[in-house]
Structure formats: structure tokens, C-alpha cells
């Protein structure tokens, strides 16, 4: 039976029913959740890549000359380690600039001693034992100068942030699963309702020799049409929301948030959401109509 003829067996609703719009909302939610989840994943990966193979050395010494001498000794000791690729003593001016938002003018005054900071890049993420070895090397280098230093593995103090980001990603996945389930349920209800409304037509088609496959195709066409329309509208709504959120986060001008940008593959995944939605509707519709047909002779 030709497609155009099949299509005419059910009245055309011109998207007047609620289902296309329900699907549009659900797809928009999935697009937002998927974009959020992917963005969080990128953000976490970028942050981990930046910080996991780095440590910060902090030297707390009130006397500026002694502090500078200890910083130089510490930098030299660190440079001798095979685990270290680069060592940078953070200039005082840069430290003052970093602290200015919190300390105000006190940051540049001599009243508040600012510890010396050394950024250390490692060849890879160091384990606890290797950090302890670095700490020992520092202690040995600073002992003659009567000073001490503390190593902060940046990945350690960011672990709660990573955990929170991971939890948000799981939340996004759970939201996607729930909304997918809701989409399938909406299609199931719509297909059942359409089948009930057109049961007489189905009986006629059957009695005239129509097969279950032909009947299923009639409803499937209607379901796919509604789902495709809803998925397209949902994609547009979702992308608009993602763009708006992106603008808002970009305005924060934060280095960490900047790592949450989406790449081409991410956009491809988001673009696949409506396609997956239509496929889900197609499969759900087919199963629903198939089960309904089995109750008929």
C-alpha cells in the first residue's frame, strides 16, 4: 500500500494534539541536560588535566629577604627532582593582584606578610609517596636556612569539586533517563488513545485483508510525524536555553568555567538527541500498536 494512501487512513491533526508539544518539552529538557552533563564532563576533565600534574609549594616567612632566599632554595631543590618539569616562583606582584579582591589595599602593604608561592609542574600525577619525597627534599634544602615549606597537591584540594561535578553528571544522566522514560510513556499513551479512537477503522482494514504490518505502518507514520515535529521544536528550544546559559556562564569570565565549553563531538551528541527521541517514539509506537492488535482477531 502506497505511503500517501496509508497516511490518509487516519485524519490529519495538524499537530493540534498535545503530544507533539509534550515531546517538544521533553526533548528540550534532554537537550539541556545533555549539554549540561557534557559541559560538566569537559569542565572536570580540563580542570583535572590542568591541576592533577601540578603542586603548589607555600613558604610562610614574615621576613621578606629570608622568604625570598628560602623560595630560591626550594625552587632549586625542586628543579633537581626527575618528577618535576618546571618550577616557577610566583612574583609578588602577581600574588598581590590575586589577593587584592580579598585583602584590598592590605595586600600591597607591608602589614600583611604574604607567603611565597611556587608553581610546580610535574611529569604526571604524583602519588602520596612521591609528594612525601618532594616534601623531604624541600625540608632538607630549607633546614640550613631555618625555614620550612608545605606542598599542596592541587588535585587533592579540588577532589570535593570533582566529586560534586561527577554527581552533577550522574544527575544529568538520571534526568535524561527519566525524561526518555516519560517520552516513551507519552507516546505509549498517545498511540493507545489513537488506536482506541480509530479502532473501527482498524477493524475495517483488517476485515478487508489488511495485515498487522499495514495497520502498524498507518499509526507509526502518525507517531513519527508528531515525534519529529516535537523533536525539532524541542531541539530549537533546548539549544536556545543552552545558548542563553552559555552566555551567562561566559560572562563570569572564570578560567574553570571556561573549561566547560562544548566541542564538535558534543554538539553532534546534542544533535542526535531529537533523532534518538524520534527513534524511541517509533519503537514505542510500534510495540504499543503491536500489542493492541494482538487483542483483535
Amino acid at each position: 500500500m502506497k505511503g500517501s494512501v496509508t497516511a490518509k487512513l487516519l485524519p490529519q491533526t495538524r499537530f493540534g494534539g498535545p503530544i507533539p508539544w509534550v515531546i517538544a518539552i521533553l526533548i528540550a529538557l534532554v537537550v539541556i541536560a545533555a549539554a549540561g552533563g557534557l559541559s560538566l564532563r569537559n569542565l572536570a576533565e580540563n580542570a583535572r588535566a590542568d591541576l592533577s600534574d601540578a603542586v603548589t609549594v607555600q613558604i610562610v616567612e614574615a621576613d621578606e629577604n629570608a622568604r625570598n632566599a628560602q623560595a630560591e632554595a626550594a625552587a632549586e631543590a625542586l628543579g633537581n627532582s626527575r618528577l618535576v618539569t618546571s618550577v616557577r616562583v610566583v612574583p609578588e606582584a602577581e600574588l598581590e593582584q590575586l589577593l587584592a579582591p580579598w585583602l584590598g589595599e592590605s595586600a600591597v602593604s607591608e602589614d600583611v606578610p604574604i607567603p611565597a608561592l611556587i608553581d610546580v609542574e610535574l611529569t604526571r600525577e604524583a602519588n602520596a609517596q612521591e609528594i612525601a619525597q618532594l616534601q623531604t627534599a624541600l625540608d632538607e634544602a630549607l633546614e640550613p636556612l631555618g625555614g620550612s615549606a608545605r606542598i599542596d597537591a592541587q588535585s587533592e584540594w579540588l577532589r570535593p569539586v570533582y566529586d560534586a561535578l561527577a554527581a552533577l553528571q550522574y544527575l544529568a544522566l538520571a534526568l535524561i533517563a527519566l525524561v526518555s522514560f516519560a517520552t516513551a510513556a507519552a507516546v505509549w499513551l498517545a498511540a493507545r488513545s489513537a488506536f482506541a479512537n480509530h479502532r473501527d477503522t482498524v477493524e475495517i482494514i483488517h476485515l478487508l485483508g489488511g495485515t498487522d504490518r499495514q495497520v502498524t505502518r498507518v499509526f507509526q507514520r502518525s507517531v513519527v510525524r508528531d515525534a519529529a515535529f516535537g523533536a525539532f521544536v524541542g531541539l530549537i528550544l533546548g539549544l536556545a536555553a543552552v545558548w542563553l546559559l552559555g552566555q551567562q556562564f561566559a560572562a563570569l569570565d572564570s578560567g574553570m568555567v571556561g573549561g566547560g565549553g562544548l566541542d564538535v563531538v558534543d554538539w553532534a551528541v546534542i544533535g542526535a538527541v531529537p533523532v534518538a527521541g524520534v527513534l524511541l517514539a517509533l519503537i514505542t509506537g510500534r510495540i504499543t500498536i503491536g500489542l493492541a492488535l494482538k487483542s483483535m482477531l
Binding site: 494512501v5 487516519l10 478487508l208
Partner: protein
């Protein structure tokens, strides 16, 4: 002695009840042969429509066995039913036209469901609509047609695919006497020229006289009587010998 042709329908001790209600059809045992013309008569509520539903495979019996076209319809898997339904033409009592389709598309439906080439569909449907006098109403929807027009569309749909068996439930109930006679002649032509087995349910006794070679089956309170010997083999029509051998 007449050679016994293969029966097209064989009912054996068939009963039908809806739900837990009493049986509407009881102990039906009869045989229909290819190429015969049967009238099914009986008062309203006698069970004519229920019997026709069994014949056009819209209903399974509560008990007994039904064989059609040499196959057991009771054990036949439902996915194989369409093959058998395509051998039937049915005129339903309430027409049962697809409400969203035009007269043309309703008549074309059996051919399209069977996968007939669209050019052949257009030609066959146009000819059929012309024959039933509805060419000018080809694009009209059922809702805009009179009862008589709908009935003619239903009949055109039933015969368009040249079925092996035509089952008609009160097919002349809504048409004028001239059209009723014309439709009966169409059924006769199908019966005589194509060998279609015709079963017409009617409570109009005058109609029976219009087809003298017809055989009569009478239903009374769900049970079948056989006033003309229609159910026996060989059938004993008033003016026609046994059906042609291999007519179907």
C-alpha cells in the same frame, strides 16, 4: 451422479455466545459449495449478522469447527487471516466505510491493501463507481453521502477485488427498488460469470424471488433450518442444477 466439489465453507456443530450470555447461535452444521447463491433469512435477532461475522472471520465461534477454503479457521494463526479475508467481499449492515476516505479511496482500499498497481486501481475503481452510478461522487466523503450512496460504495468495495465469496448483510436495505434489483443482478453476474459464492442476508422475502436459482438458509433463534435443501449436497435449487465444477 454429481461429483462432489470441494466445499468452500463447512460448519460443524458451531455455537457462538458473547461473554457469558446465552448462545446466539447453536449447533450450526452446514456446508456451502463454490459457485452457489445463498439467501440467509430470518427475523431480526435470529442471528443472521452473527453467522455472517463467523463467515467473514470477524469472530471466532465459542465451540465447534469451521473450515473455509479447505483450512481450519479455528486453529489458523491470526497473522494468516488476511490471506483468507482477501478472498472475501463483505457488505456490512452499517456499511462501515472509512470515514476519512473519499468514496473512491474506500472502494480502492481492498485493492491497495492487496498491493495492486495504482494505475489498475484507478481504472478498476473508476469503472466500478460508474457502474454503481457514483462517478460524480467519487471524491465525496461518507458523511456527505446519503444512506443509499454509502451502501452502493460499500457494495462496490466488496466486489472490486472479485472475491471468491461475497457476503452481504442486508445489502438492499437502503436503496430504491430499481437499484436493489441492479445490485442483485451484479451479485448474480459475479456468481454466474466469475463463480463467486454469494451469501446475502435479508429479511425481505420479496428479494428471494428475484434470484430464482438461489438457495435459502433460514435462521430461527440461532438455529438453522433448511427449507430448500440448500445445506444438503447436492444443493437443490429451484431452477438451476448443481454449481459448476471448480467454479471458484
Amino acid at each position: 451422479m454429481n461429483e462432489r466439489p470441494p466445499e468452500i465453507v463447512k460448519f460443524d456443530n458451531v455455537g457462538l455466545r458473547y461473554g457469558t450470555d446465552p448462545e446466539v447461535l447453536s449447533d450450526l452444521s452446514f456446508t456451502l459449495f463454490p459457485g452457489s447463491f445463498y439467501f440467509l433469512t430470518g427475523a431480526s435477532g435470529a442471528g443472521k449478522t452473527s453467522l455472517l461475522k463467523l463467515l467473514y472471520l470477524a469472530q471466532r465461534p465459542s465451540r465447534g469447527s469451521i473450515r473455509m477454503f479447505g483450512k481450519d479457521m479455528i486453529t489458523l494463526p491470526r497473522q494468516k487471516l488476511p490471506d483468507f479475508r482477501r478472498r472475501l467481499g463483505v457488505v456490512f449492515q452499517n456499511f462501515r466505510l472509512v470515514p476519512h476516505l473519499s468514496a473512491f479511496d474506500n472502494v480502492a482500499l481492498p485493492l491497495r491493501l492487496a498491493g495492486t498497481d495504482e494505475a489498475k486501481v484507478v481504472k478498476a475503481v473508476s469503472d466500478m463507481l460508474e457502474w454503481v452510478g457514483l462517478s460524480h461522487r467519487a471524491q465525496a466523503g461518507p458523511a456527505t453521502m446519503s444512506g443509499g450512496e454509502q451502501q452502493r460504495v460499500a457494495i462496490a468495495r466488496a466486489v472490486i477485488a472479485r472475491p471468491q465469496m461475497l457476503i452481504a448483510d442486508e445489502p438492499t436495505g437502503n436503496v430504491d427498488p430499481d437499484m436493489a434489483l441492479k445490485l442483485l443482478r451484479l451479485f448474480e453476474a459475479l456468481n454466474n460469470r466469475v463463480g463467486t459464492t454469494v451469501i446475502v442476508a435479508t429479511h425481505d422475502v420479496h428479494l428471494l424471488k428475484k434470484v430464482p436459482e438461489s438457495l435459502i438458509m433460514r435462521l430461527h433463534k440461532g438455529r438453522l433450518s433448511d427449507p430448500t435443501g440448500a445445506l444438503r449436497y447436492p444443493p437443490q435449487p429451484k431452477s438451476r442444477p448443481a454449481p459448476r465444477k471448480g467454479a471458484a
